[in-house]
Subunit: 345 residues, 2 copies
Amino acid sequence: MPVATQATVKALTPGEVSAAGARMVIMNTYHLWLRPGADLVAEQGGLHEFSRWPHAIATDSGGYQAFSLAERTTLSEAGFDFASHLDGARRLLTPEESMRVQGLLGSDIALQLDVCPPAGASARELNGAVERTTRWAHRCLAALAPGQALFGIVQGGLDVELRRSHARELEKLPLDGIALGGFSVGEAPAAMHRALADVAPALDPERPHYLMGVGTRVDLILAIAAGVDMFDCVMPTRNARNGQAFVRGGKLVIKNARYRSDKKVLDPGCGCPACSGGYSRSYIRHLYVAGEILAHRLLSLHNTYVYLDLVRRAREAICEGRFDVWQQQELAVVRAEAASPADTV
Amino acid sequence: MPVATQATVKALTPGEVSAAGARMVIMNTYHLWLRPGADLVAEQGGLHEFSRWPHAIATDSGGYQAFSLAERTTLSEAGFDFASHLDGARRLLTPEESMRVQGLLGSDIALQLDVCPPAGASARELNGAVERTTRWAHRCLAALAPGQALFGIVQGGLDVELRRSHARELEKLPLDGIALGGFSVGEAPAAMHRALADVAPALDPERPHYLMGVGTRVDLILAIAAGVDMFDCVMPTRNARNGQAFVRGGKLVIKNARYRSDKKVLDPGCGCPACSGGYSRSYIRHLYVAGEILAHRLLSLHNTYVYLDLVRRAREAICEGRFDVWQQQELAVVRAEAASPADTV
């Protein structure tokens, strides 16, 4: 799922995101609740009509931003009491309020409000987060808008047994999917990969498994191997805005001088509109250095395509019964790229 | 001609600009000479290949920016001696250097280096500018790259006789077109309209007439009526970035509160991708207030379409022998829009 925080995948149109292969995006409850406001979005017919996105929409619960982005936040059994980062107004985000807001936004999939401890949280903190998240799952189910799907969120940090038992608790509830939260919050990637390999295969195979806020291409491949079905990550568009393109064979940071007169497209083997359109690295570098929006557009198109192409190929490999072979080959390629020094392509 | 200062129409792709109906854009010699550099563009195959723009390209001479944007500029018979606004490096822009740079850039139409006095310049200044511009036209012709067209530039401020005599001088030379410079430099619009009505009909009818850096839709209609064939203006894209859309019936400044929950598209009668794509004023306002690039894209698409649609309709009216009637009707509409209070649509 490309990330459409403020009801737009940054720099792209719905048509471009769809053409890249996306069939679901995730939008941000916290941001849209504060601006333009959930009542306004509802009055406009909901997020689908408002944003002109023709496919599925998930919304997160708003809890993560209430904790990480808002100011003077306090967490209690009621929910998150915080001051808006936009105007300082105090707000209370309870499980019921999150469901009410997500109902007004009209997403297809709502996420329960959860408690997401940082990496290195104590066993006591992890246990408390898991227990409160379970209680909040009950409250969210009771407050869910008609016709909306709800995913529960498994917490537990790197404690595999705690995560497994949390998943078993959540799976007793009529939740439509199971999300894995609390990963990619500062722990070592290898630690996440080990935990995922132990936790994801234990999840209810009848419900979709969603790994939240992850990640690199290596993360995605390993998570798919462990049985994860859905992801969201800002890397394709955020790295694009920072001038980084994901290309075969290494890292490409477009502002670097080595691309000044490079006539190649970002990735000569890529089928994205930026590469098939023939825009050279030299031109995109010029646009980026000159501060032109077209640079962000082209890099965002490319990176979004690369990510969606990766999961498309993973799906094909699964459907054709050759995922294990595909996974090994793809991991070798992507790991080599990640390990290569910058700007060698 | 949409303005592609740094080899891109701001926020738009070549495909979008072409789909809006443009068949020529103007790029900026001063900017591209300083960054990324004319040698680099030449090495990349010229501006067409570099920017992927499939139609015609004009380049200005660089003189206007050397005077208005650069620092510590001195003007002499040799040319403009200035310090780059990017890095302070001193440069000398002579007629020969402008031709050399435009040749490297590889535009279809080059503009001669000229002297453009501000509004209110004395008769002595205007005469001096005209005479030097004529001498520079000779020097530019002598330095013109093979295969490139060259337009001369008529100066003379609001002095109709001076402009006519300047045009007659320039028209003795093998110039491919005649541009009118030194308009829209601070004079009252009505004064420009009067001067245009007196000067443009006197230009050689065998060569295209290009009114530089103009203007509003009223300016365009009146200039077309006077016999002008070509324009360039940043208004469609600059106003878009400032949140203003040109719409039927008035002025629309998207950030204003009255559009907060307005479900209409920018202009319900418009065929641009933003309007036909169904993006509401409410959504575009949200994107604009939230600082999202998509707001600039949609407003730029709309305004560029509106301008190109205006000249398309003017062309049709001319070809069908009904320009006078069309002009009166269109002027009444556009003048009423320009005179209406803001945000009444």
